[in-house]
Amino acid sequence: MGGTQDVDHERVSRILVAVDGSEPSMRAIDMASEMAKALGAEITILHVVEIEELPTLIGEAEDMRADEDAQIILGMAAKLAKGKGVEPKIAVRRGHPANQILRFSDAYSPQLIVLGTRGVTGAKGILMGSVSTAVSRKARASVMLVR
């Protein structure tokens, strides 16, 4: 009667951090890296190259300059993570950020997703809500939002 119940806590072994180059996302890297180090968890940094939502040409989606920007952002993020003593994996996807984060998360199955808070992005953001709102609502994993 009234005794403690055994709660099966899932160990955090995989952390996914989504970065877009903004300050909140860089703070998200900091926090996630510290947590990964403390918990001995693997950390993956994901950047989503946001593409033109209603393009007139296919080429607008395959803008190579966006890939160069992605490499710069991921480079900065990886450097931050390594500075905290963790070795991150990195990944790039193209598309709507929330959709791609959720798809990647479904495949990678992290216990925790960390991302920075940000305002609505583009016309689709108005209709479908901000990235952080969409991810925190639909992700199967726990989501931590960093301001």
């Binding site: 939502e53 007139t56 296919i58 607008e60 193209r94 598309g95 959709n99 798809r103």
Partner: protein, 343 residues
Amino acid sequence: MAIIEICLGMILGNVMDIEVVDHEWLVFLAGLGSVVLTFLAGAEIDSDAMKKNLKSSLLIGTLSFLAPFFAAWWFCYLVLGWGWEAAMLAGVALSTTSVAVVYIVLLETGINRTDTGKIILSSCFVTDLGTALALSTLFITPNIYFVLLVAAIAASTLIMPRLLDWALPRLKGRSGEPEVKLLLFFVVLLGVTAEVSGSHAVLPAYVLGLVVSNSLSKNREVLVKVRILALSFLTPFFFISAGLNISFPAIVAGAGLIAVLFVVKVGAKFIGVYPASKKYIGKDATYITLLMSTGLTFGTISSQYGFNSGIIDQDQFSVLIVTVLLTAIVPTIIAQKWYAPEV
């Protein structure tokens, strides 16, 4: 970006009362923008994927064009009482599929790399080829120079790939962008030939893009340069000028009609595309049909052509353009929210 430019034009036209016809430079740049945009759309065709999936993409693409074309045409003529040519123009404008919008959606789901994705994209190209063909043949008043246009298109099909394969590597890296000038020279030459022959430049520009797509895929930097020029300078004038021609009062008065035309287009696409998609692609037929109900670039080009040629009036143009814009947005949202396939 196109929608923003159209909306900007709409605001300028209705608030500041700017009219396109009063500014010849705008008419010229908008016309050039639409021709270069059409050329680039043709140049993005993956001709190898098309050849590989020819039967299925021809069938789906042809039905995707014909079903909404006839449905919108006859609806506008018999129910709305539009003139014969105006109704036909509405059929053309509402028959289109936005290849780029479809590509983005396929990219989101990763299907763009699969055989299914390639069939869908090839079908979209066939749909737009139907639109270009219709626009260039149904409203023309052919003269003796029409033979010249046909000959020019045939000649470009034979000569241009060889010419570019020879010239582009030799011109690479030279100052003054001679490769870009060479490409645009032939685009403009074919456009002028079309104009002189009483036809529209969209078909020769699209066909030229298609026949040189392989050559340009081997010289991607040239394609990127032309695309930057078009998207940053020329096509904004085209979309802004389309927006300038839109009448706010016509949209408000025609809101119900816009909704009906939207249903006619999407409904017809389902009748035409869904059975063939079910047969050749299978379980994601609804998703594919919704994607193929989108329209933006060619729908805008067709409507703008109709208005500039006097085939449709400003009210009809306004209704068609807004319907086209709705078809660019609504079907993709529905497809992604409720019918996105598992990957």
